[in-house]
Symmetry: C2
Subunit: 286 residues, 2 copies
């Protein structure tokens, strides 16, 4: 998807919400910065702010800036099945700019332009890489960088693309749990972090804790045992959560390196994994 | 309807046509001129240009400028029943700016900004009144001006509003054909200039000729006779065509003063009326 198609698709959302639509369009066109990526209707997780899970109207990932028009979209306004697979961005440390709707055209334009000015100030002082839709989902980008980092908005189109960052080229990948091709005792894991047919998985809003429970009764205990064995061999998981982007595309978003919390895990609670690293090394393909 | 609601409704059209939508939005926000009215998806009649009846993507009535994105919308692309009641603007002498769709975001932005520059040049050199949604449909505006003129984009919300420009205040008006309240031998006519249950009326693309045929067989000849009697008493009609705006609102658009063409009219062709004046005097309400 090229920049124009991506932006045009983002901008053509929220059409029934006429004033939100107007704000988002105006910000994009007045800001006039094709080097900035922009996402509309982004789900966010905000551990220190209510509502903890919300939808913002416009999000600039390189700047960590969100636009909220009038009322934030509370979780309760969002259909549960929509949120289930959603790509929920951790918004800790992000800036939220509120734009109130005025019914005077000139005054409303001015309010929106104030938000544009603020975004421009941040963009001019921030250190970021120009938006490059090709590069941002390519393994080569992260191999040459030497790492993937939760704070740098890392997501891949396929499990194979994500796995190809770690020392071996994968053309396709069926299984969502494979050994790390370079680092012993580590694994690459591509979970659905929401309830599905087989698993009752959850990710805490601050993304520090994953809970994994197998819903198939006869496998529940053996899955916990397997996690404990992994832990005893110092096993850690690089987690790429299977999510849907705000445009509906499937993506695998890097969530960090997780390690079993042996104290917290048991047959009742299932396996509890703590995030132990927000960054993971990448490797040239051998 | 205030300016913001009007513009937001105009801008939220064409949403399925993503690139048209992008162009229209960008032109509005980059131009940033709340004194300019803007209409999207305007039907136009262009006597000297094919297609003679077309839909343009964006229209600035005060400047007589249309934006056409890539391909003009030919009449054949328009649903016949949509065009039937449509407000079709006579675009003689108007300027048409074409914007091609490029699939490079920066290049596309530049093409659109070139159109914005051209609109700005015309606006800066043109003599026009700032857009005022309240005034533009108010009888008081045209009474104080002293006339209504086809070239000045005159339309009213109701027949009563239109009739109230001519010397008497009407609170409501049921009949679409009444004597002019001030000038003897003139009439105010609010026709549907398209085929309807009772009439087979047409307006020529150059708007110079109206043809009126009564579809009720036993009244066909008497209607022509009535037109001839009007003509013999020097009767003329100020025509306000009943149309739907691009937003779907009913309006009565001034089309000029028409007089029967006695040579061209007969029981076969019906009554043929020629436009004899694009302007009509208005009068203070007595």
């Amino acid at each position: 998807m090229d920049k124009l198609e991506f932006i045009a698709r983002q901008l053509s959302k929220a059409q029934t919400k006429r004033y939100e639509h107007y704000v988002v369009q105006r910000i994009w066109h007045r800001l006039n910065r094709p080097d900035l990526k922009m996402i509309t209707q982004q789900f966010v997780s905000r551990p220190n702010r209510e509502p903890r899970r919300a939808m913002t109207d416009m999000f600039f990932p390189q700047l960590g800036i969100h636009i909220e028009i009038d009322e934030p979209h509370h979780l309760r306004q969002v259909a549960a099945d929509q949120l289930r697979e959603a790509d929920i961005i951790n918004a800790t440390g992000h800036e939220f700019i509120r734009v109130s709707v005025s019914n005077d055209l000139t005054a409303f334009n001015q309010l929106i332009d104030n938000a544009v000015d603020r975004i421009r100030v941040v963009a001019d002082s921030a250190n970021f890489e120009a938006w490059n839709p090709e590069a941002e989902m390519s393994p080569a980008t992260y191999i040459s960088k030497g790492y993937v980092d939760v704070d740098e908005d890392v997501a891949f189109r396929t499990m194979a693309d994500a796995a190809s960052c770690f020392g071996k080229r994968y053309a396709g990948l069926q299984h969502p749990f494979i050994p790390h091709p370079t680092e012993p005792a580590k694994f690459l894991w591509f979970p659905k972090l929401y309830e599905n047919a087989q698993w009752l998985n959850t990710l805490s809003p601050d993304e520090k804790v994953i809970t994994e429970i197998c819903k198939i009764a006869e496998r529940l205990n053996s899955q916990v045992d397997r996690n404990v064995r992994e832990f005893e061999r110092n096993g850690r998981r690089l987690v790429f959560a299977r999510v849907r982007s705000p445009l509906g595309d499937l993506m695998y978003r890097f969530k960090g390196e997780y390690l079993l919390n042996i104290e917290a895990s048991n047959y009742d609670r299932g396996a509890v994994l703590d995030r132990v690293n927000k960054r993971a090394d990448t490797y040239e393909q051998r």
